[in-house]
């Protein structure tokens, strides 16, 4: 399961599925190693946020850090009030931290405030890519967002996650399309593809060799009726 480092930062184009990957990754890391904390640093999206499933994550022993107002009370307002608890996550070594950052360069701006803590330690910063989103269909487009995110956050991306899906209509062909894109981005940037994530319920990988490790996910963020 990748390189286990103390901090893993998840960035990407908005709507790429960063949060879905981040919460699935948190669950997996909690099973493997324990002591996981997940931080919701999204100042862009109002819905489909880590805080919405805080209770489920906490029941698994995962610490959830989001707004200064609390996970539940912050659901109903649009106030990017980050919690001071975040400092603890960056400064102490108690937790294996996963940081779910808001979409696009504008979302990554929130990360810059913590960049000075990060340059002094070993961290992973993974770029989530979904080839089915209209604005990230080509390597050029992905790299434009990539550069914008690095520029705004003052941090460097060191891994690619192919998270290409169509929600409940995902097929193997979507995963393949994403693989081609992730490999093209990897060839251009020299940064490896770490995982190809896929929704286990919908996609049968069979003998298909994904770029990076296959990472099986379940839809945690989407209500069953939606």
């Amino acid at each position: 399961m990748g390189r286990k480092l103390r901090l893993t930062i998840i960035v990407g184009h908005y709507g790429s599925g960063k949060t879905e990957f981040a919460v699935n990754y948190a669950m997996k890391m909690q099973d493997l190693y324990g002591d996981v904390a997940i931080a919701d640093l999204d100042i862009v999206n109002p819905y489909f946020r880590t805080r919405e499933i805080a209770e489920r994550l906490e029941n698994k022993g995962i610490r959830v850090i989001s707004s200064v107002i609390g996970n539940k009370d912050s659901l109903s307002i649009s106030a990017p009030a980050l919690s001071p608890e975040l400092n603890g996550l960056f400064q102490t070594e108690k937790y294996f931290g996963i940081i779910d950052v808001g979409g696009n360069p504008v979302g990554a701006t929130a990360l810059a405030r913590f960049a000075h803590y990060l340059v002094e330690q070993d961290y992973n910063m993974y770029m989530v890519v979904n080839a089915n989103r209209p604005e990230t269909q080509s390597a050029d487009e992905v790299i434009a967002f990539w550069e914008g995110i690095e520029d705004k956050s003052n941090l460097k991306i060191n891994g690619i996650i192919n998270n290409t899906h169509m929600i409940r209509q995902t097929a193997l062909e979507d995963v393949r399309r994403g693989d081609r894109l992730a490999k093209a981005v990897s060839a251009r940037t020299g940064i490896p593809v770490i995982y190809t994530s896929y929704i286990e319920e919908m996609v049968e990988l069979g003998a298909y060799q994904t770029a990076g490790e296959p990472f099986a996910m379940e839809l945690l963020m989407r209500p069953e009726w939606l």
Binding site: G15, P46, Y47, N132, H165, I167
Partner: protein, 352 residues
Amino acid sequence: MAKKLMKGNEAIAAAAISAGATHFFGYPITPQSELIEYMARELPKAGGCFLQAESEVAASYMVYGAGGAGARVITSTSSPGLALKQEGLTYMISAGIPCVVVNISRGGPGLGNILPAQSDYFMCTRGGGNGDYYHPCFAPASVQECVDLVRHAFDVADKYRMPVLVLGDGMTGQMMEPCEIPPRQEVKADKPWAADGNHVARGEHNRINAMDLQADVLEAKNEDIQRRLKEIAETEVMYETVDVEDADIVFVAYGTSSRAVKNVLSKAKAEGLKMGLIRPISLWPFPTEAFDKIKKDCKAVIAVEQSCGQMVEDVRLAVLGRWPVEFYGRSGGNPIIPDDVLKMAKDILGGK
């Protein structure tokens, strides 16, 4: 056309551009701001005009001006923003201005909160401004339907010369789904009434006006508005029904609530229970005719809304005492719980 994964808000904006919209005026508000963001980025690329107004009231009069000059124009907002636009909307009804107004609604009353809600039904169907009118209002339940209904709304607006609403809740705007956007069409709608300087002889005027001081002139205008509304009521009804004919319980739900109810239907079916759904797609005109499909000994018609009970009044008018009408609702942005809806239906079947 390949399917792409889009948020409802983005898809609505893309659909408006594909429908040939040339002008957008609006003011950002959660949970529909992605719509404005998309328009700001993409409409100028299509040769159109995006302008962020200083307020919702100002935006509604920019729509009035552009629509009055014959442009295909759209504005979008969320609940309290639509409340602010009401003055412009009743003026546009009076002046006969076609436009599309999108409301991605949130919790109310007042500033409320940013969570999804369906408590703007009255404001969107009746019209929240002064005077005698209703708003044609369409309610999508999926991202693809957002695309289809926004395109349709432009045609209805042009045909009947009035504002047409598209009402989704916050979930409609924020959820991501596969959809297809048709290529952009250039619209050459015939608008001989438009104040664009092209349609009348020198010395004559096309007047776009919301004030009529003479009683007979104002009454004649009202009669014309009512004639157009009557034609809409007769021809623009849209709805979906699921298993209604055989159902012992019939739910009525629109937008994302209808998706929670479809989940209830599949659970009921698994238990051998006969339940059906009427999903109004046009909220006004309300699909009264769909209720004629319900069997005589149906036990109850249940309105399911993310509100304290608004559409249920139209349900009662459509039922006209033929079956008991019940209501399930949540408010404050809380979600409908399919299991609670199922329990309520089972209690009614069990005679509780």
